[in-house]
């Protein structure tokens, strides 16, 4: 192995690329060549580092630079890499960089804990060796050598890991169902059709640590007795697709996928399947239909996928984030995992925090952090300086929490007891200047566009809600529109075919509870 | 018996007409004619009194009244303004006159002013085409070659007459 004097970890996730990461890299390479230190310093392209703009960490010092522009490179190379003097003006916040360089994984940015994002930002996602160096594929090796499938399932069950896709179904239980269904052919599907507006956590996991997903799928396959896996990625996620495909190829070359993995009897292959731009395909049965090459309309349940899924065979569908937890649970044990978070909500949760705030981005926090803490400590208040009006948590189909309810803790139990959900982990902060009707119209438009059209309440209901919102926005609504909308929402929640229609009404029901007065402003004077 | 209060209608004529007709077959239309002639219009309470008197359901009385164009339920004004809209008058601007009367009186054609003074009607040719456009009032006063400018004067004339 070659020795390098320094490693530069460069964030090359999508937002970074947008901020010009490619130009930074090119300039950097050019500079290194010019200074003739190419052989001493290695550039590692990685996923999100969790900062805004183009960011890099230079090891061994562990100094973080953010907001780098190509024109800064010359200075950086000369000062830091050649003269060993960190460039203060580009350095990220002092406290956090120390944590990172000290390798204290539990205490990152302001109360974050990184399990899922453990490697994101510290390894080159396109180099399997780096993943292996970070104990990668150790969990797979461990279960293949030491555990029976049943034991693996027990570990996952004991960890109390719950699905991170939104429904929060206990993962171990799901695996057990599939394990118990006898079939010569079973499938593992990784649901990477991340379509909930505001969420991009799965994208960043795939871009930053694709092997974690692959390893987890292999573990799952071993546990339930599957030999084939699919990763269903959104067609729009170009970089994710490329990285995942590369990772699969690499894993195959290292025999982490393929026949007789680790010289065991276990064989497992993964294929990537692309989505076509349909939000509903995030619903597991719609996703299965889509892989089968059909219109992505959800299927009747029962039978559920663990009994009869892809091509009629028992199938596990797990979310990317859920899977990314698995190797860590195997390596560190279920008790370790359970201790993170609070009772009933084990582990951490990745949130994407967005909207009118100072610090946008991806965070991973233990279950049980309060919304207020997220807003004040992590998001650091509104960027515009206006008062925050509400947070929309869980994506468009999630709940609207008005500012005065921000004390709520973001763990499954608390949320469920308030009839809320953290869904796919989006927290969108909306400030006062956005009118609720304007906001809801945009939500309505999304669902109108994305309803698959299979069942009546959702097909017609999403359309009608949009009509109502349009009217209210034009201040041409009627008072009875709002009560009719309430009835409609209740029916959609009760009677829609799948989660899309059932959850689509959440923000509207919440808004009608918390912002009824404001909504009424859309009512034309005198109209009943 | 006429009531002294001034608000009530003196039904004695109506009652007499009804009395004379009671028991005869198919008398309703004659009664309606006579009553309208005397009272000017078949208001709902007049219809009710006829219904009671003749022992014919009010619905039938009302049905008959609404069937025939001749009967009216709205009392006509003291002065019935009729504007001829026959061809000759029309080409000479009768419709302008109608618009102006509507405007000035604040009522639509077929209606009566609140003070009960004027009713506005349009009629087909009154046979005075050489004088077009023609306006008649109570079929007695005939105004020939009326121009919209004269309307104020005409109305004012009757108002004044009334005031006196």
């Amino acid at each position: 192995m070659k020795f390098y004097r320094s490693h530069i970890i460069l964030g090359m996730d999508t937002p970074s690329l947008l901020a010009g990461a490619k130009g930074v890299r090119d300039t950097l390479e050019k500079q290194l060549k010019e200074k003739n230190i190419v052989n001493e310093i290695r550039i590692v392209e990685t996923g999100s580092l969790g900062y805004n703009g183009v960011s890099m960490i230079i090891y061994p010092e562990g100094i973080i630079y953010t907001g780098i522009k190509p024109e800064d490179i010359k200075e950086l190379v000369e000062e830091h890499l050649i003269k060993g003097r960190p460039v203060k003006r580009l350095m990220a916040i002092e406290s956090s960089q120390k944590d990172i360089c000290a390798g204290k994984q539990e205490k990152l940015l302001d109360g974050q804990v990184r399990i899922v994002l453990k490697n994101a930002g510290s390894i080159d996602p396109e180099n399997i060796i780096e993943y292996i160096a970070k104990d990668g594929y150790m969990a797979l090796g461990k279960v293949l050598n030491e555990n029976t499938p049943k034991e693996v399932i027990d570990i996952v069950k004991n960890s109390e890991l719950k699905g991170r896709g939104g429904a929060a179904f206990p993962t171990g239980k799901k695996w057990e169902f599939t394990y118990n269904t006898e079939s010569s052919q079973k499938y593992v599907i990784c649901n990477a059709d991340e379509g909930e507006p505001g969420t991009f956590k799965d994208r960043l996991i795939m871009e930053g640590d694709p092997h974690a997903v692959i390893e987890a799928m292999a573990i799952c396959a071993y546990a339930i007795g599957a030999n084939k896996g699919y990763i269903y990625v959104r067609g729009e996620y170009k970089l994710s697709i490329d990285r995942i495909k590369k990772a699969i190829k690499d894993a195959e070359e290292h025999n982490f996928l393929g026949e007789n993995i680790f010289d065991s009897d276990f064989s497992f292959n993964i294929e990537v399947c692309l989505g076509g731009g349909a939000y509903v395909c995030g619903e597991e049965t719609a996703l299965i239909e889509s892989i089968e090459g059909k219109r992505g309309e959800p299927r009747l349940k029962p039978p559920y996928p663990p009994v009869c899924g892809l091509f009629g065979k028992p199938t596990i569908v797990n979310n990317v984030e859920t899977l990314a937890n698995i190797p860590q649970i195997i390596l560190n044990g279920s008790d370790w995992f359970k201790k993170l978070g609070v009772k009933g909500s084990a582990g951490t949760k990745v949130f994407t925090i967005l909207g009118d705030i100072n610090e946008k981005g991806l965070i991973e926090v233990p279950m049980g952090i309060s919304l207020k803490e997220v807003f004040e400590n992590i998001a650091k208040g509104t960027r515009s300086g206006k008062k925050v009006k509400f947070a929309h948590i869980g994506g468009s189909s999630g709940n609207i929490v008005p500012f005065n309810n921000f004390d709520i803790k973001l763990d499954l139990n608390t949320l469920a007891s308030s009839d809320l959900t953290h869904g796919s982990g989006v927290i969108l902060f909306v400030s006062e200047d956005i009118h609720i009707n304007d906001y809801l119209k945009s939500v309505a438009k999304f669902f109108k566009h994305e309803s698959c059209g299979k069942c009546t309440p959702c097909r017609e209901g999403t359309f009608r809600i949009y009509q109502f919102m349009e009217k209210l926005n034009k201040k041409e609504g009627k008072k009875s529109d709002i009560s009719k909308m309430k009835d409609l929402c209740k029916v959609m929640k009760n009677a829609s075919f799948c989660g899309l229609g059932q959850a689509a009404v959440n923000p509207f029901l919440d808004a009608m509870t918390h912002f009824e007065k404001e909504m009424m402003e859309g009512v034309k004077e005198g109209k009943k | 018996m006429a009531c002294e209060c001034g608000n009530c209608i003196d039904y004695s004529v109506l009652d007499r007409i009804v009395e004379e007709s009671r028991g005869k077959e198919g008398i309703l239309i004659n009664v309606l004619h006579s009553v309208q002639e005397h009272y000017g219009a078949l208001t709902p309470d007049i219809q009710k009194r006829i219904s009671d008197g003749l022992n014919i359901p009010l619905s039938q009385v009302y049905g008959t009244v609404t069937f025939y164009h001749f009967f009216t339920m709205v009392p006509k004004g003291k002065y019935v303004i009729k504007i001829c809209t026959g061809t000759a008058c029309y080409v000479r601007g009768a419709n302008k006159l109608v618009e102006n009367f509507v405007d000035k009186l604040g009522i639509e054609v077929g209606q009566t002013t609140n003070d009960g003074l004027f009713s506005l009607e349009t009629v087909r040719c009154v046979g005075a085409c050489s004088l077009a456009p023609v306006v008649t009032i109570n079929d007695v006063d005939i105004y020939k070659r009326v121009s919209p400018k004269e309307i104020d004067g005409i109305i004012a004339g009757y108002r004044q007459k009334e005031a006196e």
């Binding site: 947008l18 076509g276 892989i291 059909k294 909306v430 | -």
Partner: protein, 154 residues
């Protein structure tokens, strides 16, 4: 066996007859087409190869927003208008595209270069408002940036 300049046969041969890869085939064929669509002829060939009845194939392409059976521009501009983008001013950006190109959403410019489409969340919320032009992403947009972006595509 080529049609609308897409060598469908070659693309199809890359895929086994095994089920489960229709979506990728469609993506690939559409991406190979200069006009960003799958023509009726290609549809038939796909149908023949995959043994999937033609009607179902059309059902699929019409279901997913990324596919089109109608000619589109060389560059498909997919504008996100989900809430995260919306609250940060996506509407003004979309309007700017509409104005700049002189076409409505869903239409293609006369020179066949651009097609404007609405789409649901692109997962670029960190840099909202964002659009995708073919496979490139553009984020943190402001209406005044639109002109320059369009100019980059020749």
């Amino acid at each position: 066996m080529t049609c609308c300049n897409v060598d469908v046969g070659k693309i199809l041969k890359e895929y086994s007859e095994e089920k489960g890869n229709l979506m990728e085939i469609l993506h690939k064929i559409q991406n190979s087409s200069k006009e960003n669509y799958i023509c009726d002829d290609c549809m038939k060939k796909i149908s023949d190869y995959t043994k999937l009845p033609l009607n179902k194939l059309y059902g699929v392409t019409s279901f997913y927003t990324m596919f089109s059976n109608k000619k589109r521009g060389k560059y498909v501009i997919r504008m996100c208008e989900s809430c995260p983008c919306h609250v940060l001013g996506a509407e003004a950006v979309i309007n700017s595209f509409v104005d700049e190109l002189g076409i409505k959403v869903g239409e293609t410019t006369k020179d066949g270069k651009f097609t404007l489409e609405h789409c649901a969340c692109l997962g670029l919320c960190a840099v909202a408002p964002a659009v995708m032009i073919n496979e490139d992403v553009h984020g943190n947009l402001k209406p005044e940036m639109v002109k320059d972006i369009i100019a980059k595509y020749e």
